[in-house]
């Protein structure tokens, strides 16, 4: 890394010339190699001769190395998934949420091919803070088919921070669980007087489902301005389940994302303007009654990061419009006879301001304020000639708005003894309202919806919540080999639009609501109160041997949620003949829940030699127990015990990874949701990566032994049910041989 344009050429000769110097010299030169340059001293002394008044020894301290590339997560409970780790997954997955599952404590419910909903320590997507480039993306679908991570592509993601434990209140409000922060590559600038033209092209192919895709990144910059284009495309057909489980219907997808990022260096900091377009022409959902037949989204984000004498100022403004359309793909009957169109439109806009004020010896004070506006319209056009779906549009959500004003105050201080404390309080004001609704029509078959609409329209639908949150996080360095972190947080989240304002009571209308992949129908509840979670988490990190040494992390936690939004049964669903089906109509209600568990992870270097390369063993394991304290049963979608063992080997330009993952049997299931039990299984993945100059080639196989299995949180295979009449959980993906190539220039 060149640290000073005019000093750089001097460093190398200096290093060479003194190679045979004394031991002490070599220590010093070792420092030189890290960017500290003698000519910098010379230059400094030449340009700023010491005044006679202070004619005394000037002491030059060793340099402070300020790295922009973070490799560490902001807290011990959590991980930062670096660009190199994401690169390893590019060829094997187009689903950012699937990549997160390599972090202990993180799992995900199956959904569409790029829409997996992340779960952190038993709390799912809607309860987490998910930020893409610092901005939250409002949900725009009754089935949550377009969650924030579906707008990201592993091909263009730079890094992801995952905080599984207690997080500071400045990281976001209106959530009770962990934090996921996705970052795209920061803008690059050229050195003074130069121009920079750089980029990367990548492509991949996956044998299972004939998936393929590619991406392009281009940057043009001088030392003050930078323009970056990022684009990606990916598509796949239905995938094959492992063993003899056959094709999983309704699992195909296609999407493309494009963004343009303009950045400028100002005297006081950095200004960024980023706009983009996302289009997904189709995405099958094997565990939903509907498929996504179009999702288009446009966004514009502005960001200013200022550096001042008093501290930092960070200002963001965001705008996004989404048009989302659901209907049936071919496996579910197609749209030749009209299908069942369902349209959702969302406008969202907001700002966030944060000031980090340096208080010298008293630490840092963070003040922040944000406002997020969400407007949502959801209507289902009539289907010509269909008795149930006509003659009018079904107005599912009529111009609902959800506005949130969040304010926080946070204080951070580090003591020289190795203690760091972060304490903060936060208030989120949430205002929600929605217009009157109406069913398809007023026929006999539509009576449940007619009555429900009348009741809903008569009710007061305006809601206001004032949610107080607070968190306290302490980190203590016990010794140079051990750190401990302890955190307590009370966090509050208001119900989302669909939890509060879904009103349909007819079998079909309620089956259209829910992001749980369980085949049940859901009815909203105007009486829902915000969820309040008290979380205690701790993490002990023991390490030795430096950056490439060994590491062990032990992270237990306990969460108790008051007014946890769960579901109770309203009615059995019956088929046309009046016979019972495996599904029920459920309604969202506030209950009490607790979740506790422990995450373990570690790694140890195995060997390092010039002939045998370097090898490293990694391991992780997670266990948790989630219980609904109101009905005494297990919570829905809780991952059973799971563990993974990985072997990484590197010799020359060849990297090899072998990953063995194990998931135990899921026998604690939620009876309310008719959750299926699943068997234990183990999967083996291998990958080889080879670099020749600026080309990186990868070849790998997922589920090498083509093991047949059902993922515990995969949901029920409704796409198959429609075609075969047999109900089964969604099969796990069978063997896929993946190849990828990346060219940097």
């Amino acid at each position: 890394m060149i640290t000073m344009p005019y000093a750089a050429p001097c460093v190398a000769p200096a290093t060479r010339a003194t190679n045979g110097a004394t031991e002490k010299n070599s220590i010093f030169l070792a420092r030189l190699n890290r960017g500290f340059s003698l000519s910098a001293f010379a230059a400094a002394l030449a340009f700023f001769p010491i005044s006679p008044a202070s004619a005394q020894d000037q002491i030059i301290l060793p340099e402070i190395d300020v790295d922009s590339v973070n490799v560490e997560a902001p807290t011990i409970s959590g991980e930062r998934i670096s660009s190199s780790r994401i690169r390893d997954h590019r060829a094997s997955s187009s689903d950012t949420a699937a990549i997160l599952q390599s972090v202990p404590g993180v799992s995900g419910f199956g959904a569409g091919g790029f829409s997996t909903l992340p779960v952190i320590r038993g709390l799912e997507a809607q309860r987490l803070t998910v930020l893409v480039d610092g901005v939250a993306i409002a949900s725009a679908c009754p089935n949550d088919m377009n969650p924030p991570l579906s707008y990201t592509d592993p091909q263009t993601v730079e890094a992801i921070d995952v905080i599984t434990g207690v997080s500071p209140v400045s990281y976001g409000g209106d959530s009770i669980g962990g934090i996921i922060r996705v970052e795209s590559a920061p803008p690059r600038f050229a050195k003074q007087g130069e121009t920079l033209l750089t980029g990367e092209v990548s492509a991949f192919y996956r044998s299972n489902g004939d998936g393929f895709g590619g991406s392009l990144a281009l940057t043009a910059a001088n030392d003050k301005l930078s323009l970056t284009y990022n684009g990606s495309y990916t598509q796949a057909d239905n995938f094959e389940g492992g063993g003899s489980l056959g094709t999983v219907r309704s699992s195909e997808y296609a999407k493309t994302d494009h963004s343009l990022n303009f950045a400028a260096q100002l005297g006081t900091g950095l200004l960024e303007l980023k706009g983009g377009y996302h289009s997904a022409p189709y995405e099958g959902f094997p565990n939903q009654y509907m498929d996504m037949t179009s999702n288009k989204s446009w966004f514009l984000n502005g960001h200013y990061a200022g550096i001042f004498d008093w501290g930092n100022l960070d200002v963001r403004a965001n705008w996004r419009d989404t048009d989302h359309v659901m209907n049936f793909l071919d496996d579910k009957g197609g749209t030749a006879t009209g299908g069942m169109p369902m349209n959702t439109e969302v406008h969202s806009a907001g700002y966030a301001v944060q000031a980090d004020i340096l208080l010298g010896g008293a630490g840092t004070l963070r003040l922040g304020n944000e406002f997020q506006h969400q407007w949502l319209n959801d209507y289902w056009p009539p289907v010509e000639g269909h008795m149930m779906m006509g003659p009018n549009s079904f107005i599912n959500v009529n111009g609902a708005k959800r506005d949130r004003l969040g304010t926080f105050l946070e204080w951070e201080k580090s003591w020289d003894r190795g203690l760091t404390l972060i304490a903060g309080i936060r208030n989120d004001q949430v205002w929600m309202n929605t217009g009157t609704v109406s069913p398809y029509g007023t026929g006999m078959m539509q009576m449940p919806d007619v009555m429900a609409a009348a009741a809903f329209n008569a009710a007061d639908r305006k809601r206001h919540d004032s949610n107080w949150s607070g968190s306290l996080l302490a980190r203590y360095t016990l010794s140079s080999h051990a750190e401990i972190e302890w955190g307590y947080a009370r966090k509050v989240r208001s119900p989302n639009i669909y939890e509060r304002y879904s009103w349909g009571r007819g079998a079909m209308a309620s089956r259209m609501i829910g992001w749980f992949g369980d085949g049940n129908g859901y009815v909203g509840n105007l009486a829902l109160r915000p969820e309040k979670a008290d979380t205690l988490s701790a993490a002990l990190s023991i390490h030795g041997g430096g950056k490439d040494g060994w590491l062990l992390k032990i992270a237990p936690y306990y969460t108790r949620v008051d007014d946890y939004i769960d579901a109770v049964k309203l009615a059995d669903f019956t088929d046309m003949m009046g016979n019972p089906t495996p599904f029920d109509q459920l309604q969202f209600v506030n209950q009490k829940a607790e979740i506790y568990g422990i995450d373990l992870s570690g790694s140890v270097p195995l060997w390092t030699s010039s002939s045998a390369g370097t090898a490293r063993l990694t391991a992780r394991a997670s266990w948790l127990h989630g219980e609904n304290l109101t009905d005494g049963g297990p919570l829905y979608h809780q991952m059973p015990f799971n563990a993974a063992l990985g072997l990484e080997h590197r010799i020359g330009d060849l990297e090899t990874r072998i990953d063995l993952s194990y998931v135990s049997e899921k026998d604690r299931v939620d009876p309310t949701r008719n959750e299926p039990q699943t068997e234990s299984y183990a999967l083996l993945d291998v990958q080889l990566a080879y670099r020749i100059d600026n080309v990186r080639l990868t070849l790998g196989a997922n589920n090498l032994f083509d093991k047949a299995y059902f993922a515990p949180l995969g949901g029920m295979s409704l796409g198959d049910l429609k075609a075969t009449g047999a109900l089964r959980p969604v099969p796990g993906r069978g063997r896929s041989v993946n190849a990828g190539v990346t060219l940097s220039f």
């Binding site: 340099e63 007061d460 004032s466 105007l526």
Partner: protein
């Protein structure tokens, strides 16, 4: 009509988690917040008291290898640890070290500027020896017993070295996050007898004003420093610290 009302009453009063009325909620929130702040202030006061005693101890001691309070960047410490000079070398006088350093600069650097160096000869820099940098990977060995007949100069040198390390560690502990920009900014600052920062300025710019500001404010934010050792007869100590951003 009626069912709507029923929904509402359910929401506001009945059931397990009764939510209190508006003023109560705000009151409770404010009370909790002030309690929190009070508690934090108390902790802060206590811990600061504890920390302040540390520098005094350091000043009086002549130990060069006190374990550091702050963890420095990893690769750096590894090197130092391996090549730590023997205890006897530790007492080397400052002037001797200075001389060696200048020679290194002249001899070791192909493009060195002798004129520059000689011009600033009266204020030739004393480069903090890497050996006094804190080590991370291993706690430092017990401090060597000091020979009672050692001269005052040695004491002074080691006290100064120890103080330099303290200053460096304090600044390093407050180092900012990078801005994804490269540059080397040198900050020169003066510390008075009581540890106050009397001046801070840019000795050389990184070429980017944001990086320069970041470097300057990091030093400012680390002050006031602990008072320098009493046996140093200077009115103020002048330090230069490079910030390497990348």
């Amino acid at each position: 009509m009626r069912s709507g009302r029923i929904y509402l009453t359910e929401g506001r009063g009945t059931g397990y988690g009764q939510s209190p009325a508006w003023p109560q909620r705000w009151g409770a929130g404010l009370a909790a917040a002030s309690c929190c702040l009070l508690m934090l202030a108390a902790i802060d006061a206590n811990l600061s008291g504890l920390v302040q005693s540390v520098p005094h101890r350091e000043v009086n001691s002549i130990k060069l290898f006190t374990p550091p309070p702050v963890v420095p960047p990893e690769p750096l410490s590894q090197r130092i640890e391996v090549e730590r000079p023997p205890a006897s070398q530790a007492g080397k006088s400052a002037s001797e070290a200075k001389k060696t350093r200048i020679q290194e600069q002249v001899a070791g650097k192909a493009i060195s500027r002798p004129t520059t160096l000689s011009r600033s000869a009266p204020a030739a820099p004393t480069i903090l020896q890497p050996s006094i940098l804190p080590s991370q990977t291993k706690p430092s060995p017990p401090k060597p017993e000091v020979n009672p007949v050692q001269v005052a100069d040695d004491k002074k040198a080691s006290a100064l070295a120890s103080y330099q390390r303290l200053i460096w560690a304090r600044i390093a502990a407050r180092k900012p996050k990078g801005l994804h920009l490269s540059g080397l900014a040198m900050v020169r600052f003066a510390v008075s007898r009581d540890g106050n920062l009397t001046s801070v300025e840019l000795a050389s710019s990184s070429g980017n004003s944001a990086l320069d500001k970041l470097a300057l404010r990091t030093v400012r934010n680390a002050s006031p420093f602990p008072a320098p050792p009493v046996n140093l007869e200077t009115d103020q100590l002048i330090f230069t610290i490079p910030f390497s951003f990348h």
